[in-house]
């Protein structure tokens, strides 16, 4: 508190400086007059001493001495930057790239690995799990609990104060209208208590509400649901919500931002609401378990106890499964959420960008040294005028930290822009299929810039500034001023060849650039081919969505009939040209591969299988190669099938398949041959499209509409149609088909963009590195060039000399980089769609880009070398 008051008073002083001076002046005059009246004016003045000095000393007491010196350095630094805008821009840009990459990766690392769980005491919460090793080569899997096992563990353990189960499931909410699919967690009563999350309104579940099916139909709403369905009305507590056809009384509202431990729930109901079977079946392992540790119990002790209890239960009542080994354990909740592979991957990625930053710093150190060589006289002059070495070092450090902070700010902007890009490249959650786990972890939440991230960026900037500034600063301060003023160099003359360490570093950078350029080139070519690859369908102007018919009302034939009614209505909507159902969508997922037999022959091939409605070929504009498409009558008549070209070729070996029969569960007559359709990322997918649209498959089915205009514009009309015919059926996952296509390629697109960005980053850094090293080398050899020019060397000779050095470096970089690039390309594997890892054109292009850029980067210093004025360079010798 006292320090604070002091700082406040000092700040006030800054604004009242003039007032302060007047006060002090008057005060001292008063003092002097009083004294003079007593002792005579002369003696008084003599004793009073130097009044100006006294005022200075008094004022200094208030001052910010260090700060004022700092301000001076900052002003001086700004002037210096103004004088060399090229250097300033290069330095800030380099740092922005290095720091931006670091900030971006750290943001993800922080949110995935370091961000604490949002519960009051997360350390006391454990995750309890069962494991099963079925000896099928898949290793040990972690699975959830069944209710009987959960109950027994709860009764028998001595390590947990309380335990709770939870399972995330999708359910249909029908009242209040409109019907919609919603993620709900089925939870134990202790769930909220263990997490330490109280209700924002009303209450959470009571102890006896979770175990008996049908006894307590109560629910807790999430904040979003409360706002959207109840207008945030406090009176919503006590009202009823219909979930999967059953009424639940709302007893409370969860706090804003809480979506359960699963992170997705909008609604909570008791475990028992999942049905009597789920509560009694010992082998139905359907929910996750969390527990609050008793005080003093460590997670390791808890895990040992859980294992002991579950093993002894397993001996009495085996869970079954031949060869299967069941076990159990517990781990701190935070740890259980951490994907170790992901964390390791991120740390490696982080090390990589850290390395990039180090390279950036090394390059900048070179650049600063080069600039320093040009500032010898200034430094020498300041030394001669009495500037201390300390103040010189401080001056240089301040300049560098300023550059670093500028770079850091620009880097932050870059990082934010990069995050936006990431966010755009990221598909919606349900489409993650082919994505590696580290990419799946990048959710919008993890892409936000938070205070820890900002602090990290600031600290890293300052650190980088000190790192690349320290060596040049110390060197500047070690110089001998007398030498310069005598006409010599401030520092020991540099060696004539490029310093070896710097050369190795540069060559290494170039090799890295070649690897990244080649990798990016290959993926970009592959991606371009992928985008041109025929999908077999026309995706534009197609709307796709799902309709969740309540299965209690619609089973078997009833579902098909209801869907036919809906399709007829959809077909009558203005702008709709065709409507069809299908079990899944082309491009989106891999086909289910089924063994197919030809009725007469010995052929038995594994072929992708899909069930579609009659207008499927019209909706997706799939051309027929032979025969006919399905008709409405096919739905009721004998089963028929249509083969893709490749499937027909494979099964019938060039014979005419029309009229023949294939065995796919039923015997189906082949009525047509269609063009190849791409499912998932299989490119030569052999697809059979049968018309036998089966009710059991319907639950996961899609409706597709070909429309005249913008597909998304039709969504409200579709919802109206469904609400009129069946108010309890939600319409969900409604999207344009083009979005599915975009999502299917998102993984490839993401890798391509990421590699491209990294390659660009490396190239930019290498340019700065080359430019910096050559600038320095040229500056250090000024005298040598002067002598050469004086003794008759022409400009072209000097150019050759400098560029020759550059060419040697390029050759070294290529020699190391090309084999490494080839090796790296082989690991890219699946990313390279239709491109060979050894694609010569790509390597030639990558090498050409590197050589051209490298030579361009050393051209400017070389040109400067030719402009050395021998008279100036040699004057004082």
């Amino acid at each position: 508190m006292e320090r604070l008051g002091e700082i406040w008073r000092r700040l006030l002083f800054l604004f009242r400086r003039r007032q302060f001076d007047r006060d002090l002046e008057e005060e001292m005059r008063f003092h002097l007059d009083m004294k003079a009246a007593e002792q005579g004016p002369d003696r008084a003045r003599r004793q009073f001493g130097n009044m100006t000095l006294l005022r200075e000393v008094s004022r200094e007491a208030w001052g910010w001495k260090g700060l004022e010196a700092l301000a001076r350095d900052v002003r001086y630094g700004l002037r210096q930057f103004g004088r060399s805008p090229g250097f300033t821009a290069a330095a800030v840009l380099t740092l922005a790239l290095g720091l931006g990459a670091n900030t971006a990766i750290f943001t993800v690392l922080y949110s995935v690995v370091l961000r604490p769980l949002p519960y009051p005491d997360p350390g006391g919460i454990a995750k309890v799990y069962l494991t099963i090793d079925a000896h099928q080569g898949r290793g040990v899997r972690t699975i959830g609990f069944s209710y009987p096992k959960f109950e027994e563990l709860r009764r028998l353990n001595a390590v947990f104060a309380s335990m709770a189960g939870y399972a995330l499931q999708y359910a249909t909410v029908t009242a209040p209208a409109p019907a919609d699919r919603m993620a709900a967690e089925y939870v134990s009563a202790a769930y909220f208590r263990i997490l330490g999350v109280p209700a924002a309104l009303g209450r959470t579940f009571l102890d006896d509400e979770d175990a008996t099916t049908g006894a307590h139909a109560v629910a807790v709403m999430g904040d979003r649901l409360w706002r959207e369905r109840f207008g945030a009305d406090p009176a919503a507590v006590g009202k009823t919500i219909r979930l999967d056809d059953a009424p639940f009384t709302i007893v409370g509202v969860a706090p804003k931002g809480f979506n359960g431990d699963s992170g997705h729930a909008d609604l909570w109901v008791p475990l028992a609401a999942a049905g009597q079977g789920a509560m009694t079946n010992r082998r139905q392992h359907w929910f996750e378990v969390i527990a609050r540790l008793r005080p003093g119990v460590t997670p390791a002790q808890a895990s040992a106890e859980v294992r002991a209890v579950m093993r002894s239960l397993e001996r009495v009542q085996p869970s079954g499964g031949a060869n299967s080994v069941w076990d159990a354990g517990a781990a701190p909740l935070a740890e259980s959420k951490l994907d170790r592979g992901l964390a390791r991957g991120l740390v490696i990625l982080y090390a990589a960008v850290g390395f990039v930053l180090l390279i950036a710093c090394a390059n900048l150190a070179n650049l600063t040294m080069a600039r320093l060589a040009g500032r010898q006289r200034e430094v020498a002059l300041r030394m001669a005028l009495g500037a201390g070495r300390g103040s010189l070092v401080r001056q240089f450090l301040v300049e560098n930290v300023m550059l670093a902070l500028g770079g850091g700010a620009a880097g932050l902007l870059l990082a934010m822009w990069g995050m936006k890009l990431l966010e755009r490249l990221r598909p919606v959650e349900s489409d993650y299929g082919a994505w590696p786990s580290y990419l799946r972890a990048i959710d919008p939440e993890s892409l936000r810039l938070t205070a820890p991230v900002l602090a990290f960026a600031a600290a890293l900037s300052v650190l980088a500034g000190l790192l690349f500034g320290l060596a040049p600063a110390l060197r500047a301060a070690r110089g001998d001023a007398g030498e310069v003023l005598k006409g010599g160099a401030l520092w020991r003359p540099a060696r004539h060849r490029l310093a070896s360490l710097r050369s190795v570093l540069l060559a290494g950078q170039m090799a890295l650039v070649v690897v990244l350029l080649a990798g990016a080139g290959l993926t970009i070519r592959g991606f371009a081919r992928l985008m041109q690859a025929p999908l077999g369908i026309r995706a534009e102007n197609v709307l796709t969505f799902r309709v969740g018919l309540p299965w209690r009302k619609y089973q078997g034939k009833a579902a098909i009939q209801q869907m036919d009614r809906l399709l007829a209505r959809f077909g009558n909507l203005p702008g709709v040209e065709a409507a069809a159902v299908s079990d899944d969508l082309p491009v989106r997922v891999r086909a289910t591969v089924t063994g197919v037999e030809v009725e007469s022959g010995p052929q038995n091939q594994y072929i992708g299988l899909h069930y579609v409605g009659s207008d499927f070929f019209r909706v997706f504009r799939i051309p027929m190669r032979a025969g006919r498409t399905f008709t409405e009558r096919d739905g009721d008549g004998p089963p028929v099938a249509i083969l893709s070209e490749n499937a027909a070729r494979l099964l019938f070996r060039g014979e005419n398949p029309l009229g023949r029969r294939v065995h796919i569960g039923d015997d189906c007559e082949v009525v047509g041959v269609a063009a190849e359709v791409q499912y998932g990322n299989q490119t030569q997918q052999l697809a059979i499209v049968g018309d036998a649209f089966r009710p059991p498959r319907f639950g996961g089915g899609y409706v597709s509409l070909r429309v005249a205009g913008n597909p998304a514009g039709l969504i409200p009309a579709v919802r109206r149609v469904v609400a009129e015919l069946e108010p309890e059926a939600p319409v969900y996952d409604a999207r344009a088909m083009e979005e599915h296509v975009f999502a299917a390629n998102s993984s490839a697109r993401f890798s391509t963009v990421l590699l491209g960005v990294f390659a660009g980053l490396a190239l930019a850094l290498a340019v700065v590195g080359i430019y910096g090293v050559f600038s320095y080398a040229v500056a250090a050899r000024t005298r040598e060039f002067g002598i050469r020019i004086a003794s008759g060397a022409r400009a072209s000779d000097i150019l050759k000399l400098v560029i020759g050095d550059g060419a040697v470096l390029c050759a070294a970089g290529l020699a190391a980089g090309l084999p490494a690039a080839l090796a790296a390309a082989r690991t890219l594997g699946s990313l390279l769609y239709d491109v060979k890892p050894g694609d010569a054109a790509t390597y030639i292009a990558a090498s050409a880009i590197l050589v051209a850029t490298a030579l361009a980067a050393c051209l400017l210093p070389a040109w400067r070398a030719t402009k050395v004025d021998p008279v100036v360079a040699l004057r004082c010798e």
């Binding site: 006292e2 008063f30 007059d33 009083m34 006294l54 008094s58 007491a61």
Partner: protein, 115 residues
């Protein structure tokens, strides 16, 4: 806040100027700089000379630390003078300074005591 360089030039024992000023203000209620110097000189029977070169910087530091406040007022001679006044923090500081000074004095006395 650092050592008092100026006190090496004064006849006032190093580090005691704050204590003397604070004590004077505690006695006088409020007083201007000149009055404080006079007061110290008189009470010490002219032994302690307060130099202006030390007094004013010291008063500034005490203002910063919040031990005293200053206000312009009318002096006895009907002139404007800047009067200093103790704050509660200053009063607390005074007891700290005195107890520390006594500790030092006691220690010195023990050292120079005839054996």
């Amino acid at each position: 806040m650092g050592t008092e360089q100026e006190s090496s030039r004064t006849e006032i024992p190093p580090g005691t100027l704050y204590m003397l000023v604070l004590k004077s203000l505690a006695r006088l209620g409020q007083m201007h700089g000149y009055g404080i110097a006079q007061h110290i000189q008189q009470l010490s029977v002219d032994v302690l000379q307060v130099e202006e070169g030390s007094l004013y910087p010291a008063l500034q530091r005490m203002l910063i630390k919040g031990w005293v406040t200053a206000e312009w007022g009318q002096s006895d001679h009907n002139r404007r003078a800047r009067y200093y006044k103790l704050t509660p923090a200053g009063r607390k500081q005074l007891t700290v300074e005195i107890s520390e000074f006594e500790k030092v004095m006691e220690a010195i006395a023990r050292v120079i005591q005839p054996a």
